[in-house]
């Protein structure tokens, strides 16, 4: 038995078969962020305001966020500990996420996974993952969120630029996070607007505008850039606790070294 299709629906049927189906005409064209990327420069977070020669652990090196007097004093205390080699870095503990914004300030390599409704920043170091929702949702209301290492990030696409805001971050005061190993810190009031895009040089450019009414007197703009590595480059597991022979003394902040017999090697006075 056959059924005849009513003549009146034939034109619509033809159109439906001939044309691609689009559920959302405004859906953006997503950029190609595939591949493996590595950060340009060292792990001094704000290279633009850095003074002194060397890296994060070199005495004399510091950055100049627009800190208020209280946070400038706190930063200087951390710098003094850094100079003595006893600034405890939560990253060294293994198992504690790096958090935002430091997730954009890591050695090793990165992958930036773009999907229609989420973007994932995957840092090999740690490992660390940051989720950015682009499905139109908003941040949860304040009563439904709590501080986490990477916070809550929601965003949208402006052409091929991802724009997102991040809230609900752990305070550096809790000891759970630092912005870098010079001892940069932020408060629990920190939040940020970030713009990610591939710039004219083919680099992933991440511009973070950080606001923190408890720590900063003005928005703090930091730009990090990442270079795409050779095609075919692989990222690997980073099992930080696999063989961590450098535990931290929680009282002194000193980083110990474990010898081949499983015992602490260090014999420095006072350690």
């Amino acid at each position: 038995m056959t059924k005849q299709i009513p003549r009146s629906v034939i034109p619509a049927l033809c159109l439906a078969l001939a044309l691609p189906i689009s559920t959302n005409a405004a859906e953006p064209t997503l950029p190609d962020w595939s591949g493996v990327w590595a950060m340009e420069g060292g792990t001094v977070f704000d290279q633009a305001t850095k003074t002194g020669e060397g890296g994060t652990t070199t005495p004399g090196v510091r950055e100049h966020p627009p800190y208020n007097a209280e946070y400038e004093a706190r930063y200087q205390r951390n710098l003094a500990l850094r100079d003595q080699g006893i600034l405890p870095d939560p990253n060294s503990l293994c198992g504690i996420p790096t958090g935002f914004p430091r997730i954009f300030n890591l050695p090793d390599v990165y992958e930036f996974a773009v999907t229609p409704k989420q973007v994932w920043v995957i840092a090999e170091n740690g490992p660390n993952v940051m989720r950015i929702y682009t499905d139109g949702r908003d941040h949860p209301p304040p009563e439904d969120r709590w501080p986490t290492h990477t916070g809550d990030s929601v965003g949208h696409w402006e052409g091929e630029t991802l724009v997102f805001t991040t809230v609900s971050l752990h305070s550096s005061e809790s000891g759970r996070t630092l912005v870098d190993r010079t001892g940069l810190i932020l408060s629990e009031a920190a939040h940020a607007t970030t713009r990610m895009r591939i710039n004219a040089q083919g680099q992933m450019e991440v511009e973070m505008t950080i606001e923190d009414p408890l720590a900063l007197t003005a928005p703090w703009v930091v730009v990090k850039r990442f270079n795409r590595l050779e095609p075919g480059t692989r990222a690997y597991d980073y099992a930080c606790n696999e063989n961590n022979r450098n535990p931290i003394d929680e009282e002194t902040g000193w980083t110990y070294t474990i010898g081949p017999d499983g015992r602490i090697m260090d014999k420095l006075e006072g350690q």
Binding site: P107, R245, P260
Partner: protein, 126 residues
Amino acid sequence: MRHEKFLTVLAAGAMVLWAGLGTAHHSDAMFDRDTTLELSGTVKEFQFTNPHTWLQVMVPNEQGEEVEWSLEWGSPNQLGRQGIRPSTFPAGSKVVVRTNPMRDGTPGGAFIGAMLADGKTVGRWD
């Protein structure tokens, strides 16, 4: 105690030789970056592990006793992308290594570079 007879202090101000743990997951305050030692010994093990690789080398002291040195290098991920493999330092192979030693004189340090018996060099060997 450091046995100078068997260890050659190569240079003071060895910052240029710091091959480092610049991307280390921890402070490098335990290493004397102003001193570079050169050690001759035998590879016991190359721990190709995260967060850092460790080259374990048996080095004779002045009494002729074998002392195990622990030399810390980069992550296997970083090094693997640069062509270093777990097989780079076969157990039992003779090796000369350069290191920024532990400040306290214990037998360990930050790996800088090495020369194997066939003359092949690994890491920084300027």
